[in-house]
Amino acid sequence: MKHLSWPPMPRGEKAGIPRSGVRSLGCCARPRAVPLRAVCLLACIALVLTAFGAVAVSGASFAWGSGNPANTFSSGAFTVLNSADGGYVLDIRGLRPGQAESGLLTLTCQGDFAGTMSLTNRGITDTPASPALSTALTLSIEDVTGPAQTLWSGTMSTFASLTLGQFSAGETRNYRLTVAFPQSAATPRLQGATTTMSLRFSGVAL
């Protein structure tokens, strides 16, 4: 039987006779010759284990994918633009019975949407509180975009809110607010009285 030394011996060295020339004592000190068939068997087992390990670690399997990119969502812009925003429409000083004053403002539905606009009384402050000047003054609100159209008219203190209707995107309308001091409502006790009314224009996108 052909034998193969394993591990391989240095060239020029024979089994049991180290190159140093000192003869080894006993069979235990002599490198054992491993049969070629055993080496081949070990090599095959190693290859099989290596292949098995590769398969087990890779975890390879079939897979396929597809994608739907750029699903994009954007919100629009919507702004109620008030030409007198933050300021007053009317500032009347020294109002006398029988006198009326008017102020104009422009309202624009700015943005991507149509909107329903409204006007709300945010509060009245009378000084003195009683008698209150707001109970004597009258207020009228007109849409003067085209021919004047009265939208609301009455005693200032009774105004709560007013729906201005639906605006298309970008539409502009003009409003005239008129405050009058009816002669019939005048009393000496209202001399020097003041009233402040805060109005809010708002819109809801449609």
């Binding site: 399997s61 079939f62 897979a63 396929w64 994918g65 597809s66 994608g67 739907n68 990119p69 750029a70 699903n71 994009t72 969502f73 954007s74 919100s75 629009g76 812009a77 919507f78 991507d112 949407f113 996108a205």
Partner: protein, 190 residues
């Protein structure tokens, strides 16, 4: 030559002939025996073919969006559908995930993905496979499709109406003029 010598020669010749005959018979016999001939029979099964299966699906909108919506406002919804078909020859387990989510904040700083809601319904089985925020989808199991199966999914994106905002920059107003984008990824494994 004497008669005795002729008899001896004839006997030798006879023995030689007999020896040759025996040798020839022996050779013939050994040939028969040596051939080892026996009755035999064989069959074969050739062309045992093994072909790997093909795991594949089609996406009716592959490479493009399922739905887009602009401009949206509170209360709006957008819908789109996509059909996923297993056109391979193996059953496949499908899942859906999102990627590449990006936000562009609006003028008041709100990210639209924080408010949009997504619902995905498998119209083939009338089953909702997801309902929730668009930015928390994660990975959704869509089920196992046999070869040849197809499922149509309806995507619905909703911008919930949060009511009247407290100011011009809070509530739903925070999301004015904002936008977001997201990708839907379909994955199939055996």
């Amino acid at each position: 030559m004497s008669r005795k010598q002729r008899l001896i020669r004839r006997k030798r010749r006879t023995r030689l002939i007999l020896g040759l005959a025996v040798a020839i018979l022996a050779i013939a016999a050994s040939t028969v025996v040596g051939s080892g001939a026996v009755f035999t029979s064989a069959s074969a099964n050739p062309t045992n073919v093994f072909t790997a299966g093909n795991l594949h699906h089609t996406n009716s909108k592959d490479g493009s969006a399922i739905l887009t919506a602009s401009p949206m406002k509170p209360g709006d919804t957008a819908q789109g559908t996509v059909t996923i078909a297993n056109d391979g020859d193996l059953a496949g387990t499908f899942s859906l995930a999102t990627s590449a989510l990006s936000d562009t904040a609006g003028t008041h700083g709100g990210n639209l993905s924080d408010v949009l809601q997504l619902q995905i319904v498998d119209q083939t089985t009338s089953t909702a496979i997801y309902s929730g925020a668009i930015n928390t989808v994660g990975t959704i199991a869509a089920g196992t499709f046999a070869a040849g199966d197809s499922h149509t999914y309806q995507f619905t994106v909703t911008f919930p109406d949060g009511g009247t905002p407290g100011s011009a920059t809070t509530g739903d107003n925070a999301y004015k003029s904002s936008s977001m984008s997201v990708q839907f990824d379909w994955n199939e494994v055996q």
